[in-house]
Amino acid sequence: MELLSNLALGFGVAFSLENLAYCFAGVALGTLIGVLPGVGPLVTIAMLFPITFHLPAVPAIIMLAGIFYGAQYGGSTTSILVNLPGETASAVTCIDGYQMARQGRAGPALATAALASFFAGCVGTLLIALAGPTLGEWALKFGSAEYTSLMLMALVASAVMTQGDAVKGLAMVVLGLLIGVVGVDVNSGMARYSFGIPELVDGVGFTVVAVGLFAVAEIVANLESREPREVYTGKLTGLMPTARDLRDAAWPTVRGTALGACFGVLPGTGPALSSFATYMLEKKIARDPSRFGRGAIEGVAAPEAANNAAAQTAFIPMLTLGIPATATMALMLAALTLQGIATGPQVMLDKPDLFWGLIASMWIGNCLLVILNLPLVGLWVKLLTVPYRWLFPSIILFCCIGNYSVSNNPFDVYLCALIGVLGYVLVKLECEPAPLLLGYVLGPLLEENLRRALLIARGDPTVFFTRPISAAFMIATVVILVVMVAPAARGMRRGT
């Protein structure tokens, strides 16, 4: 079978000592980068660019790819340990992962994240191998109308995300939408809410919002009372997940992988949307939804599987269409171009050793990540036993450096301080930050695509229902709305 011979070729390439070494280097570096807020794969790959000039193409791309998905892994580590999302997609892991850490279950949380990511990575790699070009074509079917209905569905479903008060949760989503509006409007070129400040013309950065809202607010909240109160209170029960944990996490991992693989191919949305979506799905279909937000292992396994699967499938548009989905992909594409490799529809035929070698090394990279991270779990858990008064200033420091490094601009740091204050106030008022982040990520996409879809359709709103994929999402939205409102309506009727 052709696939087997291709894979054999790929493994042959990937298993060379040189390529293995570069894979390991990339993955290790990526994990380290993911742990540090703000300093993402983009900055790292940019720094290492000159090295890629001296390396041949295959090891170069293997290393760069390793950095990329290694960073996704690392981002979840800080989410779980200190409520600090390293990447957009890791924000969801904060919700339950951090609570697990506080209950002394950091070990199982980290291990589950690693295992779920590994599973997702394997499946993702397999998908690229089997169905890469097909999935690439699927991405092409998504036009502005489809994105609009998808975002609308996600926003409506976001009411499911909120733990407590639904109205406050929705208010947070709307606030997030507003923060997302800051910056240049794609459709008109006009800068909104920028107050004449050039740094705001490009909007409020994700790192700034995530760090301020999650990490800073959390730290201040932990310091507020005058009596000493240890943050990580639960007794350390064990480093590895129990059999029960693994059983609970199994199906969410599978579902997360499926969602992540599908969304990862869509440019611009990918890992973030996948992790939010699976979280909402899991919460909705769980037998006991109230466990979510209090340390439910499904809330860690599903998003982690989703974002890792999405990180793998994000390579598909780049490899098969030659179009980078995100800035990081663009950089990798540039690295390839500078090597003289033209990616695009022909890359599978013109350069099979590159394509299949990359795929095989992605699988190897996933293995290496698990091998690397599982023993590290013990180390991370030990880190949590450090007295909080040493831990939190260090966290603040890394947040500052991370924020600054995004654009080398102190403004981002000041803005983060401001959002930190806002975040603390909101946390005190029992408004959760996760829905805000969802609104912030989805809002701009929804508005941009909605206006564009209407522009292309020359103002005809039926376009959302006449195109099949879009219609499907719209119907799903209505269904979700009905399902959400019906129990309340039924309750009211019974009450009268």
Binding site: L32, L36, V39, V43, M47, V167, K168, L170, A171, V174, L175, L178, V181, D185, N187, S188, M190, Y193, V216, I219, V220, L223, E224, S225, R226, P228, Y388, R389, W390, F392, P393, S394, I396, L397, C400, I401, Y404, S405, N408, P410, V413, Y414, C416, A417, G420, V421, Y424, L426, K428, L429, E430, C431, G443, E447, R451, L454, L455, G459, D460, P461
Partner: protein, 151 residues
């Protein structure tokens, strides 16, 4: 019964949302609104501001009715110190270099804590500064001046 508004959680939350929503709507007045089928840049923000205002009002009314208090105390002191430490970092990095900025930030952040033991904080500052320099300046080759400024 006079509703008790002091430290009333939902009253404050509602007020916050009302203010933010109103602000958003007022600022968006400068942007062209357009029509529903041809939305201008002002359409979305105005709508959102309005929705936030409505939500805010709902929460505020609920707060008046329920009278639930904010749990725990407001950590004004830690908030002030942490905010200051972050702001100082941004201010100092370009002007005096990464090493002094890091040390100052660590001290200011540590001041937010409940206990402040000078020797411990000093040690922490030395260790973390060394670590940061190693990782960021040498490891990642981020081009920040260690001591002294760009200018």
């Amino acid at each position: 019964m006079k509703p008790d508004l002091r430290n009333n959680r939902d009253w404050i939350a509602g007020l916050l949302f009302i203010v933010l929503g109103a602000l958003a709507t007022v600022l968006a007045r400068d942007y062209p609104f357009g029509t529903t089928m041809r939305m201008g840049p002002g359409y979305f923000p105005t709508m959102l501001g309005g929705i936030l205002l409505v939500f805010g009002a709902t929460i505020l009314l609920r707060g008046i009715r329920s009278g639930e208090r904010v749990k725990g105390e407001w950590g004004v002191r830690p908030l002030a110190w942490i905010t200051l430490s972050i702001v100082l970092f941004g201010f100092l990095l370009d002007r005096v270099g990464m090493v002094p900025a890091t040390v100052v930030t660590l001290f200011a952040a540590a001041a937010a804590g409940r206990e402040f033991r000078l020797k411990e904080v000093l040690l922490l500052a030395i260790v973390m500064t060394a670590f940061s320099v190693a990782v960021f300046s040498y490891g990642l080759k981020l081009p920040y001046p260690l001591v002294g400024s760009y200018y």
